[in-house]
């Protein structure tokens, strides 16, 4: 009995030692990985102070490149992603009314020449330029998609409005520097880009209903029809932004690797204990047989 007890204690000590050894090894691996960056003499990558937005051609590749750059110079810190769209009136929410169109318009001398009273209107000779800004307010890069939609209330009475749409880099998504295209060209326009942290970009939408379209009869028809029937144009702009938060959760214990190691150690301890148990049972059986 005493011998069996000693064997048990001995076995336990061996198990404990084995487990302790594995934990020490695991801790060493983890600490070593964390301490390595303090000991390395390699020059770190530096993110531009004023980085430009990166236009996506291959989603996966670009994201990985930006993420890896951010990871190289990011130390243990709190990550806060942030994305906003705003104009001179404020920040967009989920269905914000913006001022692409106006209630009244003035001519070059400052006189109001078109006035919808309480309604936003368009008429020959009216025009407007609308700017809005997309902003990365966080400290990690963000991928965003911008899309536009144009809806006419009457498919047969199409309003002769022309437009051009320019992105943050001066590239025209509709029209060009010289020419405006019919505003229906804006429908379905989509742009995807990656925005580095703490950057912004301005989009500009410009439209006009030429005073001299060359078809006064049609312009008059629209104006006369509008007396009894609303003929409307609607412009919708949506943005979708997403970001992958880097692999350093703010838990204080060094990451998932440690837990994998602990799980492996626990599993190994279970195997060892099973083996020892089997041996112990065999030894007990032999001792019992000898005593018999």
């Amino acid at each position: 009995m005493k011998k069996a007890g000693k064997d048990i204690i001995k076995s336990a000590l061996w198990v404990f030692a084995a487990v302790l050894t594995l934990c020490i090894i695991a801790t060493g691996i983890i600490l070593g990985g964390r301490l390595e960056r303090f000991l390395s003499t390699k020059e770190k990558n530096v993110i531009e102070l004023t980085p430009n937005l990166i236009e996506k051609s291959d989603t996966t590749q670009t994201v990985e490149r930006v993420s890896s750059e951010a990871a190289k110079t990011t130390y243990r810190q709190t990550y806060f992603p942030g994305f906003e769209v705003e104009d001179d009136k404020g920040i967009w929410e989920s269905n914000t009314e913006i001022e692409i169109f106006k209630i009244n318009y003035k001519n070059e001398t400052g006189d109001i020449t078109v006035d919808g009273m309480d309604d936003k209107v368009v008429a020959p000779g009216t025009s407007n330029i609308y700017d809005f800004t997309v902003k990365n307010t966080g400290n990690i890069p963000i991928d965003y998609t911008l899309s536009a939609k144009v809806i006419f209330s009457d498919s047969e009475l199409v309003i002769p409005i022309n437009a051009r749409f320019k992105n943050y880099s001066g590239k025209y998504l509709v029209g060009n520097e010289v020419t405006l295209e019919h505003i229906s060209k804006l429908d379905g326009v989509t742009e995807k880009a990656t925005m580095p942290q703490k950057t912004n970009g301005i989009y500009t939408l410009e439209w006009e209903w030429p005073f001299e379209t060359g078809d006064d009869i049609y312009d008059t028809l629209l104006g006369d029809t509008a007396v009894d029937k609303d003929i409307r144009v609607t412009v919708v702009i949506n943005t979708y932004a997403e970001a992958e938060i880097p692999e350093t959760p703010d838990t204080g214990d060094g990451g998932i690797t440690l837990f994998i190691i602990i799980a492996a150690v626990s599993f190994a301890a279970i195997i060892i204990l099973i083996i020892l148990k089997k041996k112990g049972e065999k030894t007990d059986g032999e001792s019992y047989a000898q005593e018999q």
């Binding site: 000779g125 008059t220 007396v227 609607t234 949506n238 938060i245 799980a263």
Partner: protein
């Protein structure tokens, strides 16, 4: 038993590790946000409608349509050149035009109003009638006239083979005579002034937002008003109050039974007849000769036509 304790401890550690792994993997969140904005506008209203109803004379020409292409334009020309106006005639139905609409854009109103009225200038008129049977014995002093180059002269002696004329239907027109009296709404003129010119001036004033307009061309028989007026967005054209002014006229041949202007009406009637048989209307002021018909630039002695035309267009201005 002790081995079992170690076994259980190892199992518990394993389970806890697995649970922790699941929880930690859930904190690796993907940030997603959406934003949206929209705006819409309607076409600004125009809808200016200019309409004309009725006619002044049987030969009136109305160029006014109400199709979407022409709602901003009206042209009405009523002309009596085909002998539809004569002593004793009138038109009670008349001509009515209106302008309505409240466009939401700035507009410019272009107006041209032209009027012309039948007229006989103040003076003495008569009809020189040929006297073919005059002889030396029947000739009388202060009765017979001879004619040379359109001028009639009182004959002071009988001459053989001479055409002689007598002066008939002599009438003194004390004041300028406008036999066709026009009436619009509450405005009624008289025969002693051009009632149509007064009405034309009144229409021009109304279309100019109740500000008097000077005639761009004026004579005793015709007036022309040409002007433009700009109005701000949402100006209500109905407020010009042009609608309801029905224009009518009458040529009262007996001056309400008094017959005051019978002689003048006769002279005008003779002039309207054109060439008289063996007779000619003359004006007896100074030289005795045919009166001079009025032109666009000078009223002269008479005018045998009356007309009224209105051209209105409303155009958006930038």
């Amino acid at each position: 038993m002790k081995k079992n304790i170690f076994m259980r401890l190892a199992c518990v550690v394993l389970v806890l590790t697995l649970l922790s792994t699941c929880v930690i993997s859930g904190t690796f969140a993907k940030y997603v946000t959406t934003n949206g904005a929209a705006d819409n506008a309607r076409v600004a209203k125009f809808g200016v409608v200019i309409q004309a109803d009725g006619a002044l004379f049987n030969e009136s020409y109305l160029k006014a349509t109400n199709t979407p292409a022409d709602t901003g334009t009206l042209s009405v020309i009523s002309n009596s050149s085909d002998d539809v106006v004569a002593p004793g005639t009138k038109n009670d139905d008349g001509l009515n035009f209106s302008i309505n609409g409240q466009p939401e854009v700035s507009t410019r109103l272009d107006v041209t109003i032209e009027s012309k009225n039948i007229y006989l200038k103040a003076g003495t008129y008569a009809v020189m009638v040929a006297a073919p049977e005059v002889s030396a014995t029947s000739w009388e002093a202060d009765k017979y006239y001879t004619e040379a180059a359109g001028v009639y002269t009182l004959s002071n002696a009988y001459a053989e083979d001479t055409d002689y004329f007598t002066m008939e239907n002599k009438v003194v027109v004390a004041d300028d005579y406008y036999p066709v009296v026009y009436k619009a709404d509450l405005t009624t003129g008289t025969v002693e002034a051009d009632s149509l010119a007064a009405i034309a001036a009144d229409y021009a004033k109304k279309l100019n937002n109740n500000v008097a307009v000077a005639a761009s061309d004026s004579s005793a028989i015709s007036d022309t008003y040409t002007f433009t007026k700009e109005y701000d967005p949402n100006f209500n054209y109905a407020s010009l109050n042009v609608a309801g002014d029905t224009l009518t006229w009458e040529w009262d041949f007996d001056a309400a039974g008094a017959g005051t202007y019978d002689g003048a009406d006769t002279i005008l009637g003779d002039l309207m007849a054109g060439t008289l048989t063996n007779a000619e209307v003359v004006k007896v002021d100074g030289t005795i000769e045919a009166p001079v018909a009025g032109t666009d630039s000078d009223a002269n002695d008479y005018c045998l036509e009356t007309s009224f035309s209105v051209n209105i267009s409303v155009t958006q201005v930038d």
